[in-house]
Amino acid sequence: MNDRVRPHWRTVTVSFSLGCLFLGFLLCQAPAATFAAEPAAGKSPSLAASVPSGAVGYAEISHMGDLLKRIQESSYLQTALSSPQFQALQKQPQYKQGDAVRRIVETQLGMNLWKLFEELLHDRVAVALYPKAGAPAGGPAADVVAIVRGIDPKALAQLRERIDPLLTLAQDQLSPADPIEGAPANTTVISFKGQVLVGLGESWIIAASTRDLLTKAVGLLAGKGQGTLADDGPFRMMTEQMGKEHLVRAFINTEFLTKAKGSRLTPEKLDNPVLSMFLGGVIELAAGSPYAGLALDVEEDRFLLTTGIAGDSRKLDEAHRVFFSDPDGPGTAAIPQLPSIIAGFTFHLDIANWYKQREKLLEARLLPAFDQFETGIANLLPGKDVGEDVMPLIGKSLTFVAAPQDYSHIDGTPGVKLPGFAVIIDLAKPDEGGDLFQMFFQTFSAIVNLGAAQQKNQPWVMTSETFKDVQIAYGRYLKRPAGEQLPLVYNFMPASARLGNKFIICSSLGTCRQLIESLKQPETGGQRPNRNLNFEFHPGALADILQANKEVFTARAIQQGQEARQAEGEFATSLQLLRFFDSFRLSSRVLSEGVQVQFEGSWK
C-alpha cells in the first residue's frame, strides 16, 4: 500500500455514508413530481461523466428543482407548519435566530431560499471525495470536488451580483486565482483562504479543494479530458446493478477503502446476536463488495430508497450462507394480510445452522449466554440438546404481526387498548416442532398464572376450540371479565395453533382466528419478488389504535405540564400526519449478483 496515500477511511466512510443516508431520508418526506425511470429526451447526462476518476465517494442529486417546488406547495408541509408542535418550536430562541439569519440572507439575495435552491438544483448537483495524498496529521481527511450544473444564467448572474458586496467584505479571505487553462470564456476562479477554489461559469459552479481537481473537472464538464468516475470499475458495476437515473444516488468505493485500510471494512464476528440474525449476511457480503451504493427515487405518491452491495451469496462460506434465501425463490414467508394490520415483520434465517455456526459468527464473549440458554431449556427438556434436537425443528422463516383485536374474549374493553400480537414459526418438522412449541406455550401460561393471583388478576384456564378445522389452544379467564375500563392485562388471552407447517402463538384468541383465516387463503398475485427480510408498517392503522387510546396520551401530556387543549391539539396533528402516509416497507432482496435493502413508502 502506498504510505503516501492514507485517507482516514473510517471518517470518510462513516460521515459520507451517514450524510447520504440522512439526505436520502430527509428528501423522502415529501410528495413530488413524477419522474420516469429512464432519462427523458433532453435530460442532461449524469455528472459522473464530469467528475475525475478515482473518487472514493460520490453523491449526485438530479432535477431536484421541481421537487422542491412541489414540497413547498404540498398540503403535508402546510399541515406540519400549522401544527401546534411547530408553533411551539417557533418560540424557541434557536429557531428565532435561525429564522433571522434566513431573512437576512433572503433580503441580500433578493429571493427566498426555496427559489434559490430551485434554481441551484434545477439540473444536477454532485459531490465527489478523493483520497488525500500525504495528508498531515489532523488535516482534512479527503479532497473534494462539487459541481452544480444547469443553473439558469440570469439567476446565476443575479446571485453573483448579490453576493459580490459580501465577497468584498471578506476580501482578506477571498482572492482571484489564476484562470484555468482551457476553461470556457467568462470563467472566474476564486480562491478561499487558499484552501478551496471555486470556478464560476455561465451556468455552472465547481468548487474543489485542489487546483488539479478543479482543472480536471472544468475540462470534463466542457467535454474535454479523459478519465471519469463513470469509467471506474466499481462505479460501472453499481450503475449496471442499480441503474443510473435516480433522484439521488450515492457511491462508496469500498474496494479502494479496503485496500487502503489493509483489512476488511466490516467485522468478521458481531457482538450482537440480534444484529447477526437480521444483518449478519449483508455485513459479511459487504466485506467483499467493491462498492456500496444508494439510490433514491420519488414518484407522485411513493418513494423508494435502495442501498446495494455486490456479491454472490451462494459463494459465501457455510456459516454465512445461513442468512440468505435462494435468489430465484420468493425468500421469506409472506406477511399475512390481516384486516387493518398495523405492522408485520418476517425474515429468512436457517436458524438451526445459525445456532450451530454461532462460534464463527459471534464474538466469544457472547457465547456463555448461549450456554446459559441451553441450561435453561434443558430444565424443560431433559436429555435433549438445543442445537441437535430443538433448533432443527424450526424452519427458515419467522413472522411477527400486530393488528387490532376484537375483544371477543371479554364483555367490554380494556381502558388501554393494545393491538393483538402474533408470532408465526415455520416448522421444519411440523409434528415434533408443533408438540415442542405447544409445551412451551403451556409452560409459559402456567408461569403467568402464578403471577396473576399476586396481581389480583383473573387466572387463565387452558381450553381449546376448533376453528375452520384447526385446533386452537387458548387460556380463557376463570371469570369472564366485564366492563368498559378493564385493566390492561385483559388485552391478553394467549392462544396457539398449528396450521400445516406453521406454529402460531397469539396474544388473543381473536387474532389467532384472523390469522388462521388469512393463512388458509392461497397467495394471490403471482410469484413474489425475492424478499429475505420484510417489514411492513401501516401508519393509518397505528393512528387508529392511538386514537382509541387518546385519553391516555392526553393524560400523559397533562402530567408533563401541558394544558389539556394544547395536548389534544398536538395529538390530533400527530395523527393527521400519520394518516397522510399509506404504508412503509423495509425489505432486503437477494439477487444473483448482490443484495439490496430497500425502504419504500407511499402516501395518499
Binding site: 381502558g415 375500563q485 391516555v552 393524560a555 397533562i558 389539556a564
Partner: protein, 450 residues
C-alpha cells in the same frame, strides 16, 4: 410556646388590629399552611380580603372548575386504565396543586400518613383510589365517620391482614393499629384490649374486591375492652376508642404538628383536644378555630415547620407559577422520602427533623437548581417577564421580591446586597441571572421552613 400563655388564651381568636393590622406576612403564613405555596396574586388577594374572608375561603368547600374536573377525571381514568400506581400518584399531585380546596388535599395527605397504607402490599390502583376517596370525603369532616370507614376499607384490610382474621385464629394486627396508630397512640390500651378487639374484628374480610362480613368467621362472644364488656363488633370497638380521652389528644397532637408547630406543648394539645371533643370530631370547626387563633399567628408558629417533600416541591411550583411535570415529580418525591401511596411503614411519615439529612439537603438543593434553571421538572413563569411587569428597577428590587415570595420575610440588608451583587456579576441575560437568584434563595435554610 410562651409559658405565660394559657392554652385557652392560645386558641383565642387572632385580632390583626391588635398586632398592627393584617399584613402580607400574616396572609402568606395562612396561605402556606392551608395550601402548598402561594402565588403573588393569591397573596395580594388574601391581603386585601382580610383574615376572616381568607379563612372562610380556605375552610369552606368550594366548587371545582369544569377545567379542573375534566383534567382530574381524565388523569384518574388513565390511572385505572393503565393500572399504574405512578399514574395515580400524578393524579393526586394534580389535585393537590390545582384543586379549589387545597386544605382538603393537605388534610387528606395528613390522614394518608395517619392511616398509612402502602400500595406495595395492596397492589391495586382501584383499592388505593377508593381509600383516597374515603379520606378526602371526610378529610375536613367527621373523624368519627372516617375511622369507621377506614375500619372497613378494603385496602386497609389487605394492608393490615384483616382478611386473615378468623374466629379461631384472631389476627391482632388490625386491632393493634386501630388503637396504637389510628386513635389512641402508644400506652393507652393494654394487650388484653388488643386481643379482645381482634376477636371483635374477626370475620371482617374482603371478597370479590369488596368488604364482606363473614358471620361464620366472626367471634360473637362477649369481649372486655377498656373495662367494658359486651358482645362487641368492630364498629363498637371503634366507638369505644373514640370515647377514650386519649383519642382527641392524639389527634390534636397530629394536627398541631402538621399545621402549627413541630413540637406542641401539653397545654396546647389539651386545649385543642377539648375543642375536638366539643365538636365531636368534626374537623371543619376545629380547623377554623385553629387557623384563626392567636397561637397560629404567634411568632413561635411562623416558619416553625420543616417542609415535607410534597410541601417543598408543590409549594415551589405554585409560588413560581410553574407548569409542573408531575410525571417527574413522582420519582423526585420518592427520592426525597415522601412517596405518596407508598408510605414506608405502618406509622406513615414521621416528618419534622427526619425530613432533613445530608443526603436530602443535597437533593433539595438539586431540586432548586433544576426547577429554577432547567425544564425537566417544569417551566416556571419567566422571571424576566415578572420583573418587567413589576417594573423592578434594580437588582435589589428583584431580590427583595423573590425573597418575600419564597421566604415570607424581608431579607437582611447584607443578604440582599450579596444576592444583588451576584445578579449584577453573573453571566447570561437578565432572565438567566434572575433564575440564579431564585436558585440561591431556594437553597437557603430558611426556604426549608413553612
Amino acid at each position: 410556646m410562651s409559658d405565660s400563655k394559657t392554652a385557652a388564651e392560645a386558641l383565642r381568636p387572632y385580632d390583626p388590629q391588635a398586632h398592627g393590622g393584617w399584613t402580607r406576612a400574616d396572609a402568606t403564613h395562612l396561605l402556606w399552611r392551608t395550601q402548598y405555596g402561594a402565588t403573588q396574586a393569591e397573596i395580594e388577594e388574601a391581603c386585601s380580603a382580610g383574615l376572616q374572608k381568607t379563612l372562610d375561603r380556605r375552610v369552606t368547600v368550594q366548587p371545582e372548575s369544569a377545567k379542573f374536573q375534566a383534567a382530574e377525571q381524565l388523569l384518574r381514568r388513565t390511572a385505572f386504565d393503565t393500572g399504574s400506581i405512578g399514574d395515580l400518584k400524578a393524579w393526586w399531585l394534580y389535585r393537590m396543586l390545582n384543586s379549589a380546596n387545597p386544605l382538603v388535599e393537605k388534610m387528606a395527605l395528613m390522614w394518608h400518613s395517619h392511616f398509612a397504607t402502602s400500595n406495595s402490599k395492596v397492589n391495586s390502583v382501584p383499592q388505593m383510589a377508593a381509600q383516597n376517596d374515603l379520606i378526602r370525603t371526610y378529610a375536613t369532616g367527621s373523624f368519627r365517620k372516617l375511622l369507621h370507614g377506614m375500619a372497613r376499607d378494603v385496602a386497609m384490610l389487605v394492608w393490615l391482614d384483616g382478611t386473615a382474621n378468623r374466629k379461631r385464629q384472631p389476627n391482632e394486627n388490625f386491632a393493634r393499629e386501630v388503637m396504637e396508630l389510628f386513635s389512641l397512640d402508644v400506652g393507652h390500651y393494654t394487650e388484653r384490649d388488643i386481643k379482645e378487639a381482634a376477636r371483635a374484628f374477626s370475620g371482617w374480610q374482603v371478597r370479590d374486591g369488596k368488604f364482606w362480613f363473614n358471620p361464620l368467621q366472626h367471634d360473637s362472644g362477649n369481649k372486655t375492652v377498656f373495662g367494658k364488656t359486651g358482645d362487641f363488633d368492630g364498629d363498637q370497638i371503634v366507638d369505644l376508642c373514640l370515647a377514650q380521652e386519649a383519642c382527641p389528644r392524639f389527634l390534636a397532637y397530629k394536627i398541631l404538628r402538621a399545621f402549627v408547630v413541630g413540637a406542641p406543648d401539653a397545654g396546647l394539645i389539651d386545649a385543642l383536644a377539648q375543642r375536638i371533643r366539643f365538636h365531636d370530631f368534626e374537623m371543619t370547626p376545629v380547623l377554623r378555630e385553629l387557623f384563626g387563633s392567636e397561637v397560629f399567628f404567634s411568632p413561635e408558629s411562623r416558619q416553625a415547620i420543616i417542609k415535607s417533600p410534597v410541601e417543598l416541591v408543590l409549594g415551589a411550583h405554585r409560588s413560581l407559577e410553574s407548569h409542573p411535570n408531575l410525571a417527574a415529580a413522582v420519582p423526585l418525591l420518592s427520592s426525597l422520602g415522601q412517596d405518596v401511596f407508598e408510605p414506608p411503614t405502618v406509622k406513615g411519615w414521621d416528618g419534622g427533623r427526619l425530613w432533613i439529612s445530608s443526603t436530602s439537603m443535597l437533593q433539595r438543593a438539586n431540586f432548586a437548581a433544576e426547577l429554577a434553571t432547567g425544564s425537566r421538572l417544569g417551566t416556571i413563569a419567566e422571571p424576566e417577564r415578572i420583573a418587567s411587569q413589576g417594573a423592578f428597577d434594580s437588582s435589589e428590587a428583584c431580590v427583595r421580591y423573590y425573597g418575600n415570595l419564597l421566604l415570607n420575610r424581608e431579607l437582611e440588608t447584607d443578604v440582599v446586597a450579596r444576592l444583588a451583587g451576584f445578579m449584577n456579576q453573573a453571566q447570561g441575560n437578565r432572565d438567566q441571572r434572575l433564575r440564579g437568584v431564585i436558585q440561591l434563595i431556594m437553597a437557603m435554610p430558611e426556604f426549608q421552613l413553612v
